[in-house]
Symmetry: C2
Subunit: 145 residues, 2 copies
């Protein structure tokens, strides 16, 4: 198995609401059959009905949209000021800020919001993780730190 | 907000068990302070204790590792035979196959497994989604289909 991920699909209660949230952050998606696809670097972020996604995975969906789903996404930025700006933009777009931006234990600066379906996004400036010009994250060789 | 994702962190009950699972699929990671980082194309997949991740996100973790967390990851391949092979490899590594490989409603061929913590992975061949030489997924312009 190559070390790559092709799509991340977020199960959502209301595709139109979820699409409007991400578009208010500046993303542009394409909708096909009640599914929204966003090109995000070398993969796609997808919004799809949570019930359909669970069924498609062969899984029972006992949970609700509330609470922690066990996965967090992160979007890294180049400065603390960009973190403050994006967290504020997300809050205006209807996100819930679950951890206000602050310095972190790893020497960076980050905050966390959840989208309208409770999916967690850490918005971070981490000086130890390089961002390439195209925004790709490049892990350091930790053995050299 | 640029259309990109920097990290995907999977909350896990046992970091060593989760690391062993992904390494048995062929991935190679670096562990730092009970956190495992895998470079995956232009982002990183991270394994971290589920309790720590929830707390770090400012979220209550009422759920357990069982059930559907609301997100599915996908790994796309270049042929149906590769899908069968990877699903079999994952099952040997301890995954639970929740949807055996079969043709899909979108004209491809895919199956789904969950990792030891219940995180869902669709393993798919989707002829409509091009894979670049480096494995990056490139969405089509759906308006041209």
């Amino acid at each position: 198995m190559e070390q790559r991920i092709s799509l991340i699909t977020l199960g959502v209660a209301d595709v139109a609401r979820a699409r409007a949230f991400y578009e208010s952050l500046g993303w542009q998606g394409q909708e096909v059959e009640e599914t929204v696809f966003f090109q995000a670097g070398g993969l796609a972020l997808v919004l799809w009905g949570r019930d359909k996604l669970a069924r498609d995975c062969g899984l029972d969906d006992a949970g609700t949209a509330a609470g922690f789903g066990g996965i967090a996404l992160a979007h890294n930025l180049r400065s603390p000021a960009e973190v403050d700006e994006l967290i504020a933009t997300a809050e205006r777009a209807g996100a819930t800020v679950t951890r206000p931006p602050a310095t972190t234990f790893y020497g960076g600066y980050a905050g966390v919001f959840t989208d309208p379906d409770g999916h967690a996004w850490e918005i971070a400036h981490n000086p130890g993780f390089r961002l390439a010009d195209d925004g790709s994250l490049v892990l350091p060789d930790f053995s050299n730190l």
